[in-house]
Symmetry: C2
Subunit: 181 residues, 2 copies
């Protein structure tokens, strides 16, 4: 793992990828769930994550105020589906699906070692009326050895797409780009 | 344009596409801006849109409580960039970029006729502390004749990707899929 500058962490979320969110409850149990309901708030490492009380990890997120946003890639679609279709209430997903729970640097929730990139986050606000958690990234990592960097996108009906054609249009963005990216 | 069932509108936003948001101020002026900072809240046509007072359309959004979320596709990248790098404060973007402002059915903001799909939305809440607008879709449209349906995703540094490989994994999603999609 290589540390990723925090001011670049928004670039992992802005494209709208499928993520896997890992938590660790006060009882020490780690869990991970698949999530696409997340957006950047701006160019800072602050994100709005939407999930409700029906989600097993919701309670760990509320109680500990910590999670890791792990970025899934196209090669991980099988894992994304397995993780997304069972519950941490009755399944140790790390054990069952052979995932590596690596220690994070600043939060108690584990990094999912198999993912291409990970953002350690703290909950800075919870908007209960809309089931939105406001996250602030406190450390970020990427695995330079991870080969398939195509992000996954969920259509919502069981169809997923992977990143395809790439367009480099930096020159046209001018002062609309934040500094340092 | 063909009407899209509202319960399917989340499928336009969940994959994290680049959108163009259109508004019409109380003075009657239409504007459109490029936005990737949006997420579904769940499987309903409700979305969290993040933008602040520095955005010309922010004021129309606050005052009128209406907008249209227009879905951009890869063939529209040039337009996305032009719309995203100037301001409605001094530019009539519809006129300048040859965009068609079509009447919406339920809101005063116009549809961008060139887009593949459009969701007419009303603002149901504004979380000022985080510059988040909660939108509720009230009508949705798609253009069956639109050829390039590859969604665009913004990386944040001037790089964009278009949807590539498609994976059909409906059978594995089971009861995790909402009804009717």
């Amino acid at each position: 793992m290589k540390e990723l500058e925090l001011h670049k962490a928004f670039m992992l979320i802005e494209p709208g990828p499928v993520t896997m969110i890992s938590t660790r409850g006060r009882d020490g149990r780690a869990n991970v769930f698949t999530l696409t309901w997340i957006t950047v708030l701006d160019w800072t490492p602050r994100f709005a994550l939407c999930t409700g009380a029906w989600n097993f990890s919701y309670h760990a997120l509320k109680e500990t105020g910590e999670c890791v946003v792990n970025i899934a890639t196209a090669d991980m679609l099988d894992t994304v589906l397995k993780v997304g279709t069972c519950s941490g209430a009755d399944t140790d997903k790390f054990a069952k699906f052979g995932l590596t729970a690596k220690d994070a640097s600043k939060v108690g929730a584990p990094l999912v070692g198999e993912c291409w990139a990970q953002i350690e986050c703290r909950v800075v606000d919870h908007i209960a009326a809309h089931d939105i958690f406001i996250l602030e990234g406190v450390a970020a990592w990427r695995n330079p050895a991870h080969k398939d960097k195509r992000l996954l996108h969920a259509i919502g009906d069981g169809t997923f797409t992977a990143d395809g054609e790439v367009f480099h249009r930096r020159a046209e963005m001018g002062d609309k780009l934040p500094p340092g990216v």
